[in-house]
């Protein structure tokens, strides 16, 4: 696992109109800037600042984070699955790193 590896988990079977739970994780150190290495060198702050969630063409959520969110940050939220479209999350960190992950929301055959 390297910094920026991300995964989004959604239910296996989704019907149109379901309220689904979306779980997401991104690998990131979320360094606060308050710690030092074993050699005494300060570890500079390095953390995810913003998460943008897009469903189809619509931005459905945006999260502003600080280094107070735990290492390898997780977030979960709900979504009304009312269309077949990609669900995309973009995590941006304090050093300009941008990490993207996407899952397809598709409806199970009845």
């Amino acid at each position: 696992m390297t910094v920026g590896d991300a995964r989004i988990r959604i239910p296996d079977r989704i019907a149109r109109g379901d309220l689904i739970i979306v779980n997401a994780i991104v690998v990131h150190p979320m360094d606060t800037g308050f710690f030092r290495t074993a050699e005494g060198q300060p570890i500079p702050a390095y953390f995810i600042k913003e998460v943008v969630v897009t469903y189809g063409d619509e931005q459905v959520a945006r999260f502003e984070w600080t280094s107070g969110v735990s290492k390898d940050p997780i977030v979960s939220f709900t979504l009304t699955a009312d269309k077949e479209a990609p669900l995309t999350m973009v995590w941006s960190d304090s050093k300009g790193g941008v990490y993207r992950q996407s899952v397809a929301i598709a409806f199970a055959a009845a």
Partner: protein
């Protein structure tokens, strides 16, 4: 790094708790306790005091002069967090998520963390409900505030007091 202001606020908090234990402080203070008698015991749960200027400034910038009342949001956290590096947080609200009326933001504030305004979640009706989960770092024992703002300007809050055994902020 205890400051005098923090010490005094903790002292007054303890005093408030002691009064609450005696049933003297209800949701609206002494008066309510006298009027409703035993009924006030159930609501003898005062809001946490604003502990310092920094928290006062954050609340002012986010919500202006609007009242911050308890209700319509829940904040679930452990009463005791063994490891302050990973403290689970669950935030939920039963408020509607319709274009006419929805929860547009949820703010998570940890009073005694180095960066108290820990996260802001900007939401839209497309989410269908407010049910957020994450994991946060906590420096020491403190109050945590989850405060939401609706599209029509209402502000609602929930509070959790978390005892932190191991400092998770360095």
């Amino acid at each position: 790094m205890p400051e005098p202001a923090e010490r005094s606020s903790r002292r007054s908090f303890l005093q408030t708790c002691a009064l609450a234990g005696l049933g003297l402080v209800g949701a609206n203070g002494l008066l309510q306790g006298q009027i409703s008698g035993l009924g006030a015991l159930g609501s003898a749960d005062p809001d946490p005091e604003v502990p310092n200027e920094q928290i006062a400034r954050i609340l002012k910038e986010l919500f202006g002069d609007r009242p911050i009342n308890k209700g319509h949001i829940s904040l679930d956290m452990p009463a005791v967090a063994e490891d302050g590096r990973i403290v689970p947080v669950i935030i939920e609200s039963e408020l509607p998520m319709t274009p006419a009326h929805y929860v547009k933001a949820v703010h998570l504030i940890v009073d005694h963390n180095p960066d108290p305004h820990l996260a802001a979640y900007h939401l839209t009706p497309a989410l269908g409900s407010v049910a957020l989960q994450t994991r946060i770092k906590m420096k020491r024992t403190t109050w945590v505030r989850a405060i939401l703002e609706t599209s029509t300007g209402e502000v609602w809050a929930a509070y959790a007091h978390v005892n932190v055994s191991l400092n998770g902020c360095g």
